[in-house]
Amino acid sequence: DVKVTQSSRYLVKRTGEKVFLECVQDMDHENMFWYRQDPGLGLRLIYFSYDVKMKEKGDIPEGYSVSREKKERFSLILESASTNQTSMYLCASRGRGYYGYTFGSGTRLTVV
């Protein structure tokens, strides 16, 4: 089974901190995604990546950046965390030739 692992289930950070959310997949998938999930708003795409060192903005990239130095790892970076970035963050991956995503379990981030 494809596994997508997010390094933290829960995080509490202070306003202004730089925050790293890590995601690793073990099936050699080319495509990786970061979403945030908020009540009533569903899943909103922050950034995605088609390959190593490639990144594309999603629908809500402001306040975020990403890094993909290795194929299996896709990091989401909050340069200066703010309270409105309190949310559930979901990482997903997708292999070439397939449309469905495999999701991680999510990281619930609280910014105080």
């Binding site: 009533g40 997903a92 995503y101 999701f103 379990s105």
Partner: protein
């Protein structure tokens, strides 16, 4: 632009009854759709998918129906069980082969 929406944000059903979760989409060019289930504290998990050249696809206790004429998608769950309680998302594939998700329907199964 594309939009994927759900008719009802919540649905409550009696254990043993059938559940129907609906989804509307706006992009008539979408050729692939997928349903996910998200249990509390977990990431979304794949349930079933369907391509636009099909009207119906069945899995274990689940059926997805696609009506391209009215751009409507539904997920039917037979003999709903307490373990089916979750949030269900539909998604459609956009032109870049990325998925665009709806806001979700929360299904509650009443014992």
């Amino acid at each position: 632009g594309e939009s994927v929406g759900l008719h009802l944000p919540t649905l409550s059903v009696q254990e043993g009854d059938n559940s129907i979760i609906n989804c509307a989409y706006s992009n008539s060019a979408s050729d692939y759709f997928i349903w996910y289930k998200q249990e509390s504290g977990k990431g979304p998990q794949f349930i079933i998918d369907i391509r636009s050249n099909m009207d119906k696809r069945q899995g274990k206790r689940v059926t997805v129906l696609l009506n391209k004429t009215v751009k409507h998608l539904s997920l039917q769950i037979a003999a709903t069980q307490p373990g089916d309680s979750a949030v269900y998302f539909c998604a459609e594939k956009d032109g870049a082969n990325n998925l665009f998700f709806g806001t979700g329907t929360r299904l509650t199964v009443i014992p």
